[in-house]
Amino acid sequence: MVKMNKFTNKEDIPTKNGFGEGLLEAGKKNNNILVLGADITGSVGANLFADEFPERFFSLGIAEENCIGVAAGMAMNNKIPVFATYGVFSAMRTTDFIRVSVCYNNLHVVIGGAHAGISVGPDGATHQALEDIAVMRVLPNMTVLSPCDSTQTKLATIAAIEKVNGPVYVRFGRAPVPNFTSQTMGYEVGKAQVLMEGNDVTIIATGHLVWESLQAARQLSNNGIYAKVINVHTIKPLDHEIILNAARQTGAIVTAEEHQKTGGLGSAVAEFIVQNYPVPMEFIGMPDCFGESGEPPELMDKYGMKSRHIVEAAKNVIKKK
């Protein structure tokens, strides 16, 4: 368990950079890693690998379903295929292919969900993956990773390739977001990280809302409210132990994610909590609606996913204790 009270933003970086770097690093170690492209290889960060290992990069055109099926065939033959495109396509256009050809066969296919969340910004609702965690996590055999910054996305990508045995979805984004973790924190699939200690309320966050949650915790401490902040970088399998302990310790939970409030991290936490140690909860996320065009910070603010919203939710949930 990591316990650190001070995290500083070294630099705003898109988390897709971490994906590209992790892919390249893993690719250097293992010739069985193959990368599939669906025309937007550069914009998801897979170009680093494609340039270094052209013979292990397979362009399949704008045909995402085929990419998933081809990846399944490769995984059946001792290859480790990695397919990344925008999360709206890699997780949702292809869902039945993932369900049957990948998950039902329990194959180690690494699926990258790029440009996740509303912070894709000006592209608008069609390209903002806000349901991908929900769709991926209900599939049997699937592992779902949602790292919090670029550094951690690199570690998560390497872990997805080297440590996971079955189907795995790695979620990351395009907007530059604070890069505040260090490689030394490590990355163990299924083990959440306590980033800040506190006894009054627990903020359980994923993706770049972990940074917003740390900011919220600092603001709360100015009001004498001490929040425990947990980075759930693995949505599935969910770290039950750390969540149960936090519920016992603080008696109130706020979840924060750049995803629909329904079906994602908040739902996963709630499903566990109601069965084991019910405490009041508040959810930060998209309120069951589509996004729209705008700059990422404007959208995060409009749809209630900034630190000030988390502060509000924390105060509300404490009242319900």
Binding site: L34, N66, G69, G73, M74, M76, N77
Partner: protein, 277 residues
């Protein structure tokens, strides 16, 4: 292991496979009889003449890969695997039952030896076959990939994504066979959604196209042997078949696509088989 069976031996085997299909479906009480019977000759040729495989070593790395895309004809796959020696023939009677390794549509998680792929959602198997064939090419392997498709299945757009990619990567280690029986659940393919000109479609996608009579054992063998000689492109065999083949009273009757016979009907159908044989 490759078995060079005589045509007479193959004929006897395909008769057995058909009988197994009818009996297992009658015992199951549900399932797809028409397509399973229609593919009996093709599966017999594959498992007893064409495929390089070893029932004693189902996971043998250098085996040819058979990718069944149309999972609903699982009964003919299971009967062929059992007759080839992958598992006891009696086990065919567990088809579709709770706890069985013989799932209604193939499911690898149940551990059936010889099964390559869990499948049943149409339009996915060709993509999987492409990924398999690319893997073989990367490793310079000589094993080949054989995929089996329905004609109705070709209405799935993903088939054509996969077809494009197989030609793009010049996958001459891939042979796909289309069970061209001209029918699907709702009726004739030409009415449900016309597929013609089918050979031209595959040609224009960069495939080598072969035709065969899917019930003429020699013709099926010939097509697969020809396919082996085609270089730099994948091959598709458009096999003319009849749904329900072997049982006269149900041949070409699409209402038998997704039905199983009663035990009484099964007896009658097997009698018809014997008369035809």
């Amino acid at each position: 292991m490759k078995i060079n069976n005589s045509i007479q031996q193959l004929r006897d085997l395909s008769f057995q496979v058909r009988k197994d299909v009818i009996r297992s479906l009658a015992e199951a009480g549900s399932g797809h009889l028409g397509g399973s019977l229609g593919l009996a000759d093709i599966f017999t040729v594959l498992y007893f003449n064409i495929l390089n495989h070893d029932p004693q070593r189902p996971d043998w790395k250098d085996r040819d890969r058979l990718i069944l895309s149309i999972g609903h004809v699982a009964p003919v796959l299971y009967a062929s695997l059992a007759r080839a020696g992958y598992f006891p023939i009696e086990e065919l009677q567990t088809l579709r039952k709770l706890g069985s390794r013989l799932q209604g549509h193939p499911g690898k998680d149940h551990g059936l030896p010889g099964l390559e792929l869990s499948a049943g959602s149409l339009g996915q198997g060709l993509s999987v076959a492409v990924g398999t064939a690319i893997s073989g090419k990367i490793d310079n392997k000589t094993w080949r990939v054989y995929s089996i498709h329905g004609d109705g299945e070709l209405q799935e757009g993903s088939i054509w994504e996969a077809a494009m990619s197989a030609a793009h990567y010049k996958l001459d280690n891939l042979v796909s066979l289309v069970d061209r029986n001209n029918v699907q659940i709702d009726g004739n393919t030409k009415d449900v959604m016309n597929l013609e000109p089918l050979a031209d479609k595959w040609k224009s996608f960069g495939w080598h196209v072969l035709n065969c009579d899917g019930h003429d054992l020699k013709d099926i063998i010939l097509a697969y042997e020809q396919a082996r000689k085609i270089k730099e492109k994948p091959t598709v065999i458009l096999a003319k078949t009849h749904m329900g083949k072997g049982v006269r009273s149900i041949e070409d009757n699409h209402t038998w696509h997704g039905k199983a016979p009663s035990v009484k009907q099964a007896d009658k159908f097997i009698k018809e088989l014997e008369q035809n044989g």
